[in-house]
Symmetry: C2
Subunit: 305 residues, 2 copies
């Protein structure tokens, strides 16, 4: 695959960065890929897994390399660190820059502060996170068929945006553009707050005496598939998620308040002083199934009931 680029830098070879690197190599990209990792332990792991052509620790990178050694920079580190690194980019950097961040306002703000004039930074959010993290879980199909949300800061070069869009389509994602504030609001509902609800749920159940007692007694777990699936993302990378919560605090707070209000309505109906109306609860389940099908764009209802 002939590439637009000769030297790609993936700063942050975590699950997403390393998967991207492996995929580009599998597609036979002509560019050389350099990956930056945080520790020498990750460097050894990455080298043995051939996660990139060259792997440097961040210390090695900052002491021996310049941003301008690369014509395409992809940040694959937590949002707060991405914002910090943006401040180090040369003002006349002529390559293309993007990131894989899960929130946008902080990153876009950092870009607009750093580059008051024309620049080649367009932010990306490929929706392919996982509760797994680390380059050892990298896989070439991570991006396949996923949605990649692009967010343009002010003064972004439209040529750069086009190139980035082409890049993501080559990777195998569908592309849509969403402004930063709308992105962060949408994601608070579809990802950030669900992570918090999932984590609360895991603690909530695990702290019940009766559940502890029988979990210890039972030969296998007491839970069914529903609980397992609902708490899957409670196992996500703490560092990455802590940065996401901090960078989207208001939206997350707002969406969880909305969730709490909906929960309060249900709680009032379930109050032991009330007798449940079966029809009302059937409608509740039917409506929520339709809501889910709507979000998931489930065209095919034939598989349900």
């Amino acid at each position: 695959m002939k590439s637009e680029f000769s030297n790609i830098l993936i700063y942050g070879l975590g699950l997403m960065g390393a998967s991207l690197s492996l995929l580009l190599k599998k597609k036979g990209i002509s560019a050389s890929i350099t990956g930056v990792v945080s520790s020498s332990k990750s460097k050894t792991k990455g080298e043995s897994l051939k996660s990139a052509d060259t792997i440097l620790t961040s210390e090695e990178f900052h002491s021996t390399k310049k941003w301008k050694d690369y014509d395409f920079i992809i940040f694959g580190v937590p949002v707060d660190l991405t914002a910090k690194l943006i401040g180090e980019l040369p003002l006349d950097y002529s390559g293309i820059v993007t990131d894989l961040g899960s929130t946008k306002k902080e990153i876009i703000h950092a870009v607009e502060s750093r580059f008051p004039n024309s620049h080649n930074y367009v932010s990306s959010h490929p929706m392919c996170g996982s509760e797994e993290s680390g380059l050892e879980f990298a896989n070439v199909s991570l991006y396949e068929g996923r949605l990649c949300i692009l967010t343009s800061p002010k003064n972004a070069n439209s040529e750069a945006k086009k190139k980035l869009e082409t890049f993501w389509r080559t990777v195998g994602t569908e592309v849509i553009e969403i402004p930063a504030d709308e992105h962060d609001s949408i994601l608070s509902y579809l990802s950030h707050s669900p992570h918090i609800l999932s984590s609360i749920m895991a603690d909530w159940a695990a702290n019940q005496k009766i559940i502890k007692r029988y979990t210890d007694l039972s030969p296998i777990p007491l839970n069914g598939g529903g609980f397992r699936d609902m708490t899957r993302i409670a196992g996500s990378n703490p560092k990455m998620w802590s940065a996401i919560f901090a960078s989207n605090q208001n939206e997350i707070h707002q969406s969880l308040l909305d969730f709490r209000n909906r929960l309060d309505i249900v709680l009032e109906k379930l109050n032991p002083k009330n007798i449940l109306d079966p029809k009302e609860w059937e409608r509740f389940m039917e409506t929520s199934r339709k809501s889910r099908d709507y979000i998931l764009k489930n065209q095919d209802d034939s598989k349900k009931h």
Copy 2:
């Protein structure tokens, strides 16, 4: 497979009843299996899928058959209907009776009311529900490796319990015994309230203008795997779940109040007037991962981080 039984009645050939029937037939059980369905449409479907040796509508069953025509009765209908049918069982019924119900107090109460003296009813809860329902989704591996919770009413014959335990082990489940009130409390946390939270979550997200706007614009769904998994059970069978909510109202209310209190603590921390402490949120994520691993009895932590 030589069976203890000659004539098995599965009253309610839904997903669980039909899967059990198919599995017993696959294992070559010598007994004849009769399945009861609610409509002639289901009867036609069940006959074409060979869901049981004989399939009767409930009307046909009640006009032509007697409970005593069978030596093993398994109720696979919603909890409220199960409780009603228990009231019809002959007082001197000598076969074994069980159910597949998701809540126990109502069923156990019905059994103890019907049989003040010795009887052969022991309640079962094989934990293998799914958001799918109906005999067309039946599959022989549904029960494999799942947990089956047994609950004994007062005056249950111990011989009957032993036979039922052997039966469930033959089916492929692990068996544990839990009293009705503890069962219903545990399940409110691990299944019933999660179903409600999942349903609230689907409505909560689908009712946001901004999510609607971009869901309509986007070529593929906006959500990632976390939201999809957390709302999977929002698509569960409304009739069955309405009966479960009604029969375990107090416990569900109690557990959701506890959830709300935990959510309130998190909401206060996320209040925009507070600056988030990254370390605190990392601990929050780490603790919840441990909670999840504890409930799921994840011995192998090597796959995480």
